[in-house]
Amino acid sequence: MQLNDTAIVLNTRKYNDSSIIMKVITENNGIYSGLVRIKKNQGGFGVNITGNKLNLMWRARLSEHLGFFTTELNKSRAHEIMKDQIFLSGINLICSHLDLYPEREPCQNIYIEFDNLIDNFNKKEKIWIKKLIEFEFNYLEFMGFGIDLSECALTGTTDSLEWVSPKSGRAVNSKAGKKWSKKLLKLPPFLLDKKIDADKNDLIDGLNLTGHFLKKQIYSDLNKDLPSSRKKIIDSLKN
């Protein structure tokens, strides 16, 4: 068995003195894990680091084996990620999410979105956090727990959608939801129309919305808390 693909490193774990187990998201073949042999006397330390884009070859005798990776650096990005705390928290957050995604299931859309997200980090603007929320929103859908914003769950209208039901994950109209406003989750306008700019409060609302469903549908089933890097991003918006 052999496959060649472009991939982004999600995480690495030390296996022994001379090898690591690396998890990557590939462009065409989904998420893969494999063993990478490290030659400490030959350098190449900056290659297999989270966020870096690699030209990858995976090889195993049988498809169900863990297999070995041979890697070559395609685009170095880890050093950029390490320079900014929000960027670092964001990448940590995405990698934690993707660690829960089933392996070897093609997920080209997630790969493209993740790739764009790393390439377009802009620490001066909040646009990047907006894209991060959109990623989480789409990730929920890929995992089978999409939030339905097509129409109001109560009236069937498509206008003035302002809330999301924390139980059903369906949008609720501003008038219809007024009665339950304390229980409903605020729907930031940029999730309905990507062209709309987001302010600080919209971003916090967006993170609360995706955070609620990530916790409810994915993390609580695995007895896990949401990644702490998420809190760091919310705190950065509040300060």
Binding site: T12, N16, D17, F45, I91, N92, S229
Partner: protein, 197 residues
């Protein structure tokens, strides 16, 4: 010694890092050939080390006493603390004799994926040490990995209340390194941190 005991010895040796079953068999055989000159002294040394080694209550280093010999050394500069991930990192810095101050061993890094939180590593004890008046600088010598840098940022946030200078190790071309074999990230860091010559 019966075959079972030899197998047991091989199995235990094979658990050591960098030693596989083949190497373990070779080591065991080498010891069996020299029971008095090698095997008994080694066993004695292993036992006495296991009985006496403790974790330093101040810095987390491994030594025969707590506080360790570094923390007790009066000649060391007590105003500077280098923070490292593991004891092996402390040993590497000591071997190079590049730091005459104190150390703090965290015993790991924060990891969202592995579920390692600040409570699992020695960050709170570091903050307590940094709050002491004698501490002037904390040098973060974490690995240049995502987890290492996440931990470094977290520590920097935690040390905001303490009036200490927080610095990190430089990144760039290693001694003896050839530029042709460097990755783009390291080269960029090296250019950005260039020094007057």
């Amino acid at each position: 010694m019966s075959q079972t005991e030899i197998d047991n010895l091989i199995e235990l040796l094979a658990r050591l890092p960098g030693i596989g079953p083949r190497s373990a068999r070779r080591l065991a055989l080498s010891m069996l050939k020299k029971p008095d000159s090698l095997m008994r002294p080694l066993a004695k040394s292993l036992l006495s080390t296991a009985d006496s080694i403790v974790k330093c209550s101040i810095c987390g280093n491994l030594d025969t006493s707590s506080p360790c010999y570094i923390c007790l050394d009066e000649s060391r500069d007590k105003s500077t603390i280098i923070v490292v991930e593991e004891v092996a990192d402390l040993w590497a810095l000591e071997r190079a004799s590049v730091h005459k101050g104190l150390y703090h061993v965290l015993g790991g890094t924060l990891s969202a994926i592995d579920g390692i939180s600040p409570d699992d590593i020695g960050i709170s004890s570091l903050v307590q040490r940094a709050l002491k008046e004698e501490t002037k600088e904390v040098i973060l010598a974490m690995n240049a990995t995502i987890d290492g840098q996440t931990t470094a940022y977290y520590i920097t946030d935690q040390l905001a209340a303490a009036e200490v200078k927080v610095s990190r190790l430089a990144r760039g071309v290693p001694v003896g390194g050839e530029l042709d074999y460097m990755d783009d990230g390291t080269l960029l860091e090296a250019i950005e941190s260039r020094q007057p010559f």
